[in-house]
């Protein structure tokens, strides 16, 4: 480094008389290498910042089980979604997916992604939904795909049930079979392969105000078997 710098310093003094001695040092290769390394580190930091920051937002908005969720057994609800009081994650989810969330006087939706044992719900499997339902004017239950639209079964029967049409047990609880084969009692049709969500919505219900949510029990989802 110094070997390169000294002759140049000599040259410049010969041509232009006295010049500051420290100028040649700027032209040495060490600062250039240093700058390149600096640039690489800056780029690395920026890549981590932008990639990590953007990716983590995308991931947080993609997962169903986000911040602001209330979990009751296998069911998840976002009571604050779509209100001014919602957390930023819910607000971003509403904006990105174009959701018009139910108001408190309308109802509250619960989404199940997994059964009671914690296994992912699958469209090719049969499940039994069993238990009591909280107070509401009525409720609806439907099998949904990943984007929470009702599953396309290609059959005239809709993959949905509502509380006015279900048969009840003597203790007012309800047993629902989720299957691609007809089942006695209450049958919720589901068909196809892949992941499934179950969406249970209570309409005109006191549980939609968050104080009512603390002592709510929701039905269990038990896997019966799968068509491999």
């Amino acid at each position: 480094m110094t070997g390169q710098a000294i002759p140049r310093a000599g040259n410049s003094t010969a041509c232009h008389g006295p010049l500051p001695r420290d100028i040649p040092q700027r032209h040495s290769s060490f600062p250039r290498l240093f700058m390149l390394k600096n640039a690489f580190l800056t780029l690395l930091a920026l890549a981590i910042a932008i990639g990590g920051g953007g990716g983590s937002v995308w991931y947080a908005l993609k997962t169903q089980d986000g911040i602001g969720a209330i979990r009751i057994g296998p069911w998840t609800a976002f009571p604050d979604i779509g209100t001014q009081a919602a957390d930023p994650y819910s607000k971003a989810r509403v904006a990105r997916e174009g959701v018009l969330a139910l108001g408190q006087a309308e109802g509250l939706s619960f989404i199940a992604e997994r059964d009671t044992d914690g296994e992912q719900l699958k469209r090719q499997c049969a499940y039994e939904i069993e238990g009591g339902f909280p107070t509401a004017r009525f409720w609806t239950l439907y099998a949904a795909d990943r984007s929470l639209g009702v599953v396309e079964t290609g059959k005239p029967r809709l993959a949905a049930l509502q509380s006015y049409q279900v048969l009840r047990q003597p203790d007012n609880s309800v047993v629902i079979s989720v299957s691609n084969r007809p089942a006695p009692g209450n049958w919720l049709l589901s068909d196809g392969f892949g992941r499934m969500h179950l969406v249970l919505t209570f309409y005109d219900t006191p549980i939609a105000s968050s104080t009512g949510l603390s002592d709510v029990t929701l039905p269990q989802i038990v896997k019966v078997g799968c068509n491999a």
Binding site: T42, I48, G53, V99, G103, A105, S147, Q162
Partner: protein
């Protein structure tokens, strides 16, 4: 090595900042929110069906399959908006949203006089104005005071089974969303 660690730490700190700023900017810049989707489908003060039953893909997703829904966009800076729907259906509920999709106010058929949907959305200033002399024909209406300019009015109606489909469809198709001036 220390410099690399330093850069990674700095990157992670930056990731946190980017995470927060992206999160807060998503609602501002989203072109996929309900308002934009409705704006692509129809004009202001037009009731638009949101469910797939009316043909085509649904405008706004995640509507209960046992429900039909319709929505209209309004702008309160033009004046107050009156929404009416005739007919008798098993259940209807209404939500008023602001432009970014926040639920401002909601009510259902139990809150309405005679279960008839007749509602007026207006700003607090318009409310003061109309309270001075309430016109006869507005006395049974539900007043929704919302401190917003642009917004959306959504009617949802329950379809218990197939036999109710024509009835509920008619209920939504006959609903009106009109600019009211005084």
């Amino acid at each position: 090595m220390r410099r690399l660690l330093h850069a990674i730490l700095l990157g992670l700190l930056g990731a946190g900042i980017v995470h927060i700023s992206v999160l807060l900017l998503v609602p501002e810049f989203s072109e996929r929110n309900a308002w934009s989707r409705l704006a692509m489908a129809t004009d202001l003060y037009r009731m638009t069906r949101l469910d797939a039953e009316a043909g085509g893909t649904p405008v706004v997703k995640s509507v209960d399959p046992l429900f039909y829904a319709a929505a209209c966009r309004f702008d309160l800076s033009d004046g107050m908006v009156r929404v009416k729907a005739p007919g008798n259906v098993p259940f209807w509920s209404v939500s008023v949203y602001d432009r970014s999709g926040h639920n401002i106010y909601s009510f259902n058929d139990h809150s309405a006089t005679g279960r008839v949907l007749d509602s007026i959305v207006l700003t607090p200033a318009q409310m003061i104005e109309i309270r001075k002399d309430l016109p006869e024909e507005l006395q049974g209406a539900i007043f929704v005071e919302a401190a917003i300019d642009e917004g959306m009015f959504v009617i949802r109606s329950f379809v218990p089974d197939d036999s109710w489909k024509p009835n509920v469809s008619r209920f939504l198709e006959q609903s009106s969303c009109e600019l009211q001036d005084y």
